[in-house]
Symmetry: C2
Subunit: 348 residues, 2 copies
């Protein structure tokens, strides 16, 4: 079968690998779509970051590995003892492996398991015609959720989890910095969580136009004083939460300066280096910066429910490519900012 294999930094190839067999408790999935994540780009251009170079403590595997942790597909074979899934089930996959024994796992925070691993980074993943998963990793898709949407459940769950950590009061104004896929996911998640007033701050006119087509209200930080605008709009209350999905200093600065007393800025970016941060803003308003990582199963279920209700819209920001085009039309197009979200179709 064809698969996208990460061998080393800047050495990713589409090649033939043996089709895996499902072991006890596992199922074989025929992959429909697999999204390319920012993490995959980081692994390609700057890795290994999450890809293990020594056997991973939970999966026992290390590079080379098949990439792909955002995917949907159909169950085509079940292993011994599988009782939760059947051949023909349309599923999306929650790709995390956790130990179940560390302090975060015992507290139900499996997303920050001290040994956390990922299908498609710590073991062969979904950028292939087939992949094998443990049955517990599958979430069945309702009929009204397409396999294309199913491949977006993972990044949308990252954003949904981040949105929850913002603790936004439904009456308040939420600010989202950055209108990439996570920013779009935050906008959908906040709306889905009942927050009426969400402003998306994005300097790129292309990205602003893209999220405006979905119905979002945007601000151009190169032309508007964001904290001043928010202060006026909220009658001095300040933002009920701010989300940094941009990862750059001007976003962090404006987010902290816009926050209301006792409110939260959620960091959902991969910061490549430390950022000068005005901690005095936190002190004077008793505000906080909250980091967020991944999701738990409840986030997955919530996103799938919202998708089933027609809540997510992929117009204008999601496209599919054939697996053979992954370098030119996938990694490079994303790296150069020519595309926003790319789903790989392994059968094309």
């Amino acid at each position: 079968m064809r698969a996208v294999v990460w061998n080393a930094r800047e050495d990713v190839e589409v090649t033939d690998v043996p089709r895996p067999d499902p072991g006890p408790g596992q199922v074989l999935v025929q992959v429909a779509y697999n999204g390319i994540c920012g993490t995959d780009l980081h692994e390609y251009y700057g890795g290994p970051i999450f890809i293990p170079t020594e056997p991973h403590p939970l999966t026992g595997r290390c590079a080379p590995v098949v990439l792909g942790h955002e995917f949907s597909g159909t169950v085509v074979e079940v292993g011994r003892g599988v009782d939760a899934l059947a051949v023909g089930d349309r599923i999306t996959v929650e790709p995390t492996y956790w130990c179940g024994e560390c302090a975060p796992c015992r507290a139900g925070k499996t997303n920050i398991c001290t040994k956390v691993g990922f299908h498609g980074l710590s073991i062969d993943g979904g950028m292939a015609e087939y992949t094998v998963i443990d049955q517990g990793m599958a979430h069945r898709l309702p009929d009204s959720v397409s396999l294309q949407l199913g491949a977006l459940v993972e990044p949308m769950s990252v954003a949904y989890h981040a949105a929850r950590l913002g603790n936004v009061d439904g009456d308040g104004t939420a600010l989202v910095f950055g209108a990439g896929p996570i920013g779009i996911g935050l906008w959908h998640a906040l709306k889905g969580q009942g927050v009426e007033d969400v402003l998306v701050v994005e300097p790129s006119p292309v990205r602003r136009a893209s999220i405006e087509r979905l119905g979002a209200q945007t601000l151009d930080p190169t032309g508007v004083d964001v904290p001043g605008y928010v202060a006026e709009r909220t009658k001095g209350l300040g933002a009920a939460a701010a989300f940094d999905a941009a990862g750059v200093k001007p976003a962090v600065e404006a987010a902290l300066a816009s926050l209301g007393p006792s409110k939260t800025m959620v960091s959902v970016a991969i910061y490549e280096r430390p950022i000068e941060t005005s901690l005095i803003q936190l002190v004077l308003r008793e505000a906080r910066i909250q980091g967020t990582l991944c999701y738990t199963s409840s986030d997955y279920r919530a996103v799938i429910d919202l998708m089933a209700g027609g809540h997510y819209d992929t117009t204008g920001w999601v496209e599919s490519i054939a697996i053979g085009d992954i370098l030119a039309e996938g990694f490079e197009a994303l790296h150069e900012g020519r595309k926003m979200k790319v789903l790989v179709d392994p059968s094309a």
Copy 2:
């Protein structure tokens, strides 16, 4: 009566001012001790910061003002309608004014009232022989709490409030960065809240020796790799909370690198400028930085209760001076780091 009057930056004088009269609902307090706060130093060397130059919205007053917001004393006269206090009562004073109407006030967070004012900054304060307060600002001192300790309730409540925001699990290891008065207050507060394992990180040998005399365990960050030490001590769990009462980059860096998953670094410093902050540390562990400001009445009551139980120890870090010596033996000695905590005795 004699009083310490702030006229302008670097223009503070000990001078005679009229003794105030208590209005309805107010009492006249004969001040026993009034501590010099870091805020007073900032007002002297770099103000006005909190001192209003136009009438304050809650007090109607602006500079020149009598300084002093950390004080204890005895009620010597009561105004009309005073029912909660009587002449002879020994008290400490919660010096904040709040509006009661803004969103934080309505949520019980009077410490971050959008109009917050302070007795001794926004109106004449306690660095004087007498001062007038609203009866609701007084907390009666139990017999076992000295007037000297009473003057320390304010800064100890700042630290107690910060300690609460750390949400430390009693079994965990807490890290306090900085062994100045707030660091000492944090150590006392955390111990008082049942946290057994508190490590105080402080580069100054003098300050380390000072807090060690109270019973604290210290770390010298110039000789010890703090995150490595904490990882080993906690068997990889990381710190259950970290408190930055130092306000410098190495402290913030070591605090974030030491935190366990999902844990909190509390910022209780006055940061003079933005600090390069490794936000990726927050993301990867879903950790947070929490700002903290002042206290509410419940913190005051908790500190007074702990003081009544003999929990606070002033050995070696607190001294009193006569009001006439405030510049040389107060501001300058503190500014040069020759003293740690100075209480002004207006009667001496």
